[in-house]
């Protein structure tokens, strides 16, 4: 495991450098001028020019990039254009709400997805299978935005079971987690069902049945472990996506996560915050890859010798 982590850490360096170049280019190429936005509607041309100078945006691109890279190497993400506070201080309070939401949503999606997928696979084409297939299809196809608002109307307005917005207690997480977890839940359920159906046809499962093993042993110990790999890979990547790009869910529930911060920063062209966030997301994806690989090795020993 340790060599894997070390190898991946070394491999991550060029990836992250590439990310800094790409993000720098993208934020500077997209139209819109942060100095104009920050200067306000009453600003004169010289005010806008002054703000641009203050932000260092009047310097040649290569100098701006080198300055940015130098700061990154010193562990400094720079200062937010809009608040003039350290980018790290802008991002830090958003990390835990995002982690909380991503973990809650993915736990819900993984547990329910696996359970319903297995149950559906054990009785293929039965009524349970039909219900699971229909519900999982709905989970994937229903727009997140609509689902969030419907949940809000049902759970917060009509039944008043949970608060309509905010953070702090488990009750606050319920609606955002269901909203964010619905689509991955549907995918995991369908993935589990098809993988399980395939595994249940394999010779070793027939042997297990022939040996007279209990049903739960055959399904949970022998079959499940053999079909888990695609689900583990999927959940791993989904955690990364939920951490950084749960924009719609975070917007609907006013959840103070990283996705909303990214969108807000793009709206006002807060370059340092955008760059800091994308760099963080890239690092998280790389780390998640390592974790997923580690879990895969544990679940399926064959992968330890692959690649």
């Amino acid at each position: 495991m340790l060599p894997l982590i070390l190898r991946r850490a070394v491999e991550a360096v060029p990836t992250l450098v590439l990310v800094t170049v790409t993000v720098f280019l993208v934020v500077h190429v997209i139209p819109g001028d942060p100095a104009l936005f920050l200067a306000g509607d009453q600003a004169r041309e010289e005010d806008v020019a002054g703000v641009r100078r203050h932000l260092g945006l009047d310097r040649p691109y290569h100098l701006q990039y080198l300055g940015y890279l130098g700061r990154i190497l010193r562990g400094d993400l720079g200062y937010s254009f809009t608040t003039r506070t350290a980018v790290a201080d802008v991002i830090a309070p958003r990390v835990w709400p995002s982690v909380q939401l991503a973990l809650a949503a993915m736990t819900l999606a993984a547990l329910l997805g696996l359970a319903t997928g297995i149950v559906a696979a054990l009785r293929p084409h039965g009524w349970i299978d039909t219900v699971v297939s229909t519900v999982s299809l709905l989970g994937v196809t229903v727009p997140t935005f609509w689902l969030g608002l419907m949940l809000m109307w049902l759970l917060a307005v009509h039944w008043q079971l949970v608060p309509s917005f905010g953070t702090g207690t488990w009750k606050h997480v319920v609606m955002p987690a269901i909203t964010l977890g619905a689509a991955p839940l549907g995918i995991i359920a369908r993935l589990t069902r098809s993988e399980m159906l395939e595994v249940l046809q394999q010779d070793f499962i027939r042997t297990a049945w022939a040996k007279g093993l209990a049903r739960h042993v055959v399904v949970l110990k022998h079959a499940l472990r053999n079909m888990l790999l695609p689900a583990v890979n999927f959940v791993g990547m989904q955690i990364g996506i939920a951490l950084g790009y749960a924009v719609v869910t975070e917007t609907v529930f006013a959840w103070p996560g990283l996705g909303r911060l990214l969108i807000d920063s793009v709206t006002v062209r807060d370059y340092p915050t955008i760059q800091g966030l994308i760099l963080l997301f890239a690092a998280v994806f790389i780390a998640l890859n390592v974790v997923v690989d580690g879990v895969a090795m544990w679940v399926d020993p064959r992968t330890r010798h692959a690649g």
Partner: protein, 536 residues
């Protein structure tokens, strides 16, 4: 007859008793405010910093004004009134303004509010090292001087009549404790230290702001113990929070929520008059738009009543001038009739008739240049729908209009490009809006002064000199009567020229819990909770 008279007497007696009961019930209707409690407000704006010159939305600044105060304030009738300054006067040459400050005022950190504090504030905002864009709000302010403890003098590079009105601006005009200013912008972003009726308890950038009553406030103390402002960007979620009883005020709410909010007996729909005018700017540098008949034809081709009825559900007003109807100096100049036949006649007079393809063309077959109409969505109620309707009306009379929807920031940046100020610029119209926080006609009309280009003026592109003397008078004179005359004269000059296509003045719409009493709504997105209380 006697019986009838007796019945009359009985009836009169009954009415008297009823009137007495109603009168007796009167005081019960006008309840006495109940102190205590916390009001929750859901709002849409992004509030990432509480350093006033860096707050970049009007709504965000108004929220911050529960903690910060300015030297002057402006009433809904456009009159500038004292706040932290008690009185003021301009020198005869208009180059210095002397303000006498209110005594006994302290900032939330205990620092006394005095002339030195005012000097520190304006030096901070205009500090060339800090490069606040909001410095542009005080373009002719040279120096601020503390004459004595309670007298401050502003030295201007040229006379500025509406200067006291501009001191009401909540961005650069907000008075912050000099002790906090000394700690730098990073400290100010999270630590708002003003003189206002509420003081900071908790601020989570981009999420919520909790303020508590300032018991040491110099003025009338608020009834509420606390105010919690929660940032909910999605309008549907704001309304759901209101319906669930989680917030007492949801602001703003688009008109489509009027029915559901009004349908809940615990809630009230509010549509208050605002100062924002939505208009279409015309690129006056393009040769085709220099022809007055073309511009007037566009003006006549738009059915503003239909736009108001269909897209704003009546929650706005038809404009009558370029100055907002609530601002000082407003003069109704045009009825803005919808007359496509007259528009076609004007176009014919200018040599343009509709061709077989429905596009305007000249006799020689020359087609009217394609007009790019740059628009945005979600900044003002009904903006995109109104723009789509305008494009449709213009196409109806033969203008080849192409709608280009841009993100607001891009829209703003595109308008500022220097190439727009040349005849080679693309033929363009731009959707724009302007509020009038200072409630003064000059705030809008100065956009037509090409010598003073500010960011908001980029949608006008008007570069004739005829309006300059009026703008000079309204900006430099301090006599209200003289200023009024200049503001009116400028409208009489500009409106008939059709250099803008004003579309509508938009109301400010919100949903309020009936338990929240004493809410005051200002003309420029100001939802004031200073005197609010909860009836629970």
């Amino acid at each position: 007859m006697r019986r009838s008279l007796s019945e009359w007497r009985r009836g009169a007696l009954g009415l008297t008793v009823l009137a007495f009961l109603v009168m007796a019930g009167g005081p019960a209707v006008a309840q006495a405010p109940k102190p205590g409690g916390q009001a929750n407000v859901a709002f849409s704006a992004r509030l990432e910093t509480l350093n006033p010159p860096l707050i970049n939305t009007s709504l965000g600044a108004r929220i911050a004004q529960h903690m910060f105060e300015t030297l002057t304030t402006v009433d809904d009738d456009g009159r500038v009134r004292p706040l932290l300054a008690e009185r003021w006067a301009a020198s005869p040459d208009g180059l210095t303004w002397t303000f006498t400050l209110r005594r006994g005022v302290r900032f939330h950190d205990g620092t006394p509010f005095n002339a030195q504090a005012v000097v520190a504030n304006f030096n901070h905002v205009l500090d060339p090292n800090l490069k606040y864009g909001r410095a542009g709000e005080y373009p002719v302010l040279k120096r601020t001087e503390a004459v004595d403890e309670h007298t401050v003098r502003f030295h201007l590079s040229q006379p500025w009549g509406p200067f006291p009105a501009y001191l009401t601006r909540p961005f650069a005009g907000a008075q912050v404790s000099p002790a906090a200013i000394a700690k730098g912008p990073e400290f100010l972003a999270r630590n708002p230290v003003g003189t206002g009726p509420f003081k900071l308890e908790k601020f989570v950038p981009g999420q919520e702001l909790l303020v508590a009553r300032n018991d040491a406030y110099w003025g009338k103390k608020p009834y509420l113990d606390r105010l919690r402002f929660v940032m909910i960007p999605e309008a549907g979620a704001r309304e759901a929070a209101l319906q669930a009883g989680d917030v007492h005020l949801a602001v703003p709410l688009p008109p489509q929520f009027e029915r559901t909010v009004s349908g809940n007996p615990a809630l009230q729909w509010r549509a208050d008059r605002g100062s924002r005018l939505v208009y279409v700017g015309i690129n006056m540098f393009r040769p085709e738009f220099q022809d007055f008949r073309i511009r007037q034809a566009m003006d006549l081709a738009i059915d503003r009543d239909a736009i108001l009825a269909n897209f704003l559900r009546g929650l706005g007003r038809k404009p009558r001038s370029y100055v907002q109807s609530v601002a000082f100096g407003f003069l109704p100049v045009s009825e803005y009739p919808f007359d496509p036949a007259r528009a076609a006649a004007l176009l014919k007079e200018a040599g343009w008739t509709k061709g077989k393809d429905g596009i305007l063309e000249k006799a020689a077959g020359e087609k009217f240049p394609q007009i790019v109409f740059r628009v945005f969505q979600g900044r003002v109620i009904g903006d995109l729908q109104a723009a789509q309707a305008v494009a449709g009306y213009l196409q109806e009379v033969g203008f080849p209009v192409v709608l280009r929807q841009l993100e607001h920031n891009v829209h703003f940046a595109e308008a500022q490009k220097p190439e727009n100020k040349t005849p080679q610029a693309i033929s363009q119209l731009s959707l724009a809006s302007i509020g009038n926080s200072v409630m003064d006609g000059s705030h809008t009309l100065k956009l037509f002064d090409f010598r003073r280009p500010i960011a908001d003026a980029a949608f006008s592109w008007y570069h004739e000199q005829d309006v300059w003397p009026y703008v000079d008078t309204m900006l430099q004179q301090s006599d209200p009567a003289v200023r009024l005359e200049a503001i009116r004269a400028a409208q009489k000059l500009m409106v008939p020229k059709s250099v803008w296509l004003p579309l509508y003045e938009v109301d400010q719409t919100a949903g309020v819990s009936k338990a929240l009493k004493g809410l005051k709504v200002g003309m420029d997105e100001g939802y004031w909770l200073w005197e609010a209380w909860l009836d629970k």
